[in-house]
């Protein structure tokens, strides 16, 4: 099946996202939903990583809302595009965008981290096939995506593999093995996105383990590098498009983001980077900051 054909299928399957005139507004809506849903799920779970979930909302919304040929009806289609959340701890955002696009139920996705729920604290492909692989151990998802891109090329599938990495994750040597390998094998069907929020678990990258000059690293490893504002939907979309037309080389978007984006008391505050427990008041405040109405907040928190 050609990609063009698939695009038409897609329009049939999910007309509300792909055919609207104002795609950017749709994506902005999805990003807003993603943040609120992720915060609610983390609150209900009494643990989880809000900072890195909030920073990647636009990136996920762009991928799922426009860039990828991937929607609920294509979960078993071998020709679908693949998305891997290599920074698996940000899965509340992945579950939320999945719920928004009907890969799963919104309500069920709020069951995060609970026994019996398929929405584990880190994505597990045997519980939720649409997450494509199991992640949680930093670095591995990127290698898995490299394997997917390789395998799709060998089978002459025109689908693409997308993978989202954390900046702290880039300290794992496996990431540079995978980067070297993808360039060597000329995987132009692979697109990596770095959620460059400048923070990791305990502190800033700068304090823990310096990453700069980051673009130079990727270039020296043979990648085409794009730098974008990771909260600017138009810029992300057009850059993903550019990346998709790069030939013979994999491409990476270094997406400058703000950890905790959208929730003022979390933005830039190191304490909110790791796994945390939200009080009811904190959850409500965060949802208010994210523009949720009192009714929505009640639903999200207690519903």
């Amino acid at each position: 099946m050609s990609i063009a054909a698939k695009l038409i299928d897609r329009n049939d399957a999910a007309p509300s996202f792909a055919t609207g005139p104002d795609i950017e507004a749709q994506i902005a809506d999805a990003a807003r939903f993603t943040r609120r849903h992720a915060i609610a799920a983390i609150y209900r779970a009494t643990s989880g990583h809000p900072g890195g979930a909030l920073s990647c909302a636009e990136i996920l919304a762009c991928l799922f809302g426009a860039e990828m040929n991937f929607w609920p009806a294509s979960v078993n289609d071998p020709y679908r595009d693949r998305f891997v959340l290599s920074k698996g701890h940000a899965c509340p955002a992945l579950y939320a965008i999945g719920a928004y696009h009907q890969f799963c139920s919104k309500q069920e996705a709020l069951g995060l981290r609970k026994l019996g729920s398929p929405f584990q604290g880190h994505p597990h492909v045997r519980d939720l096939p649409w997450v494509e692989t199991s992640t949680g151990s930093l670095g591995q998802g990127f290698s898995v995506a490299v394997g997917m891109a390789l395998g799709m090329k060998m089978q002459r599938m025109r689908a693409r593999a997308y993978v989202l990495l954390g900046d702290g994750e880039l300290q794992e040597g496996e990431v540079w093995e995978a980067a070297m390998c993808a360039a060597h094998h000329k995987l132009d069907n692979l697109c990596a996105i770095v959620d460059y929020n400048k923070m990791q678990s305990d502190a800033t990258n700068e304090a823990i383990m310096r990453l700069e000059p980051l673009a130079d690293k990727w270039r020296a490893f043979g990648w085409t590098v794009f730098e974008v504002d990771g909260h600017n939907i138009a810029e992300i979309l057009s850059t993903l498009h550019l990346a998709a037309s790069t030939r013979e080389r994999p491409s990476v978007l270094i997406a400058h983001t703000l950890k905790g984006k959208g929730v003022p008391f979390m933005e830039g505050s190191p304490a909110w980077h790791g796994s945390v427990k939200l009080t009811r008041q904190q959850a409500a405040d965060a949802l208010t900051a994210l523009g949720a109405s009192p009714e929505d907040i009640k639903d999200l928190i207690d519903g």
């Binding site: 009494t46 981290r113 026994l115 929405f119 604290g121 151990s137 427990k277």
Partner: protein, 325 residues
Amino acid sequence: MADNNAPALIGTSGDSLREAFGKALTALAADFPKLVVLDADVAGGTGVHHFRKAHPERLIQFGIAEQNMVAAAGGLAAVGMLPVVTGFACFLERAYEQARLSIGYARRNAKIVASHPGLDVGPDGGSAQALEDIAAFRAIPGMTVISPADPVETALATRAILEFDGPVYMRTGRSPARRLFGDDHVFEIGKGQIVRHGCDVTLVACGVEVARALDAAELLAEGGIEARVVNMPTIKPIDADLLERCARETGAIVTAEDHNIYGGLGSAVAEAVGKRLPCPIEFVGLNDTFGTSGEPDELAEHFQITAPYIAAAARRAIERRKALQ
């Protein structure tokens, strides 16, 4: 808008084994001037935040790069430091070959201390619940493997491994742990202890399962079965003398661990008993499956490693002993 409230960090309070370890390490810093602690951006989770606060200059940050951290520990030891590598059990497994070569084979005086083992990890889920670490590290020649049972024992074990000259892998734990031992508790590497007397069956446990084994003994006592409970904090070298004695005196053994039933404590006990004095053994642990998200106690129940399951295993072991007689 919240007044920039700090979040409640999960599990860093309470008497978890990781907290006990972090505090003990901090207190021991003065006695071990060459001690340095290695972290891969998880100090908040391993208990090492205490040490960092007290001795920032002795906390070496490696970033999220476990392979380099573990091999570099070999180098630190080579130039006279006393390195303690810290991390989550599951992620330290990615430095397994580094632990083998640059610490085990080179026989360095370096310690690896892993928090977040087994189902005790809880909601992070199956990917983060290391159920194979004891087996893997036990197989490295010359590697001592320890899994203490409560905060008191963890503190004692922390001192003991620093005093011991050689490679050690030690498990701590994430969730609040019941205090089992008094201030007079003694920990010696390589020694198990009978923590409850009984002659009908022996329950051998390590880590969080010791508390559950004690509970199981209570359950069994209600049914008139007197179970002996052995706390076996050193999985390697295993206390084969004690196990032989238990095999002789009770004739039936149950092992209990927050680990795969293959390769860990159960396996070490089966080897020792097979070699010394065979008797029926029942294995309580994860039945060769991965974990999932949930609260530690729920998960323990779900995967059948709580007291009732240990008690049931004890009854099976006793039946088997009787059938043999």
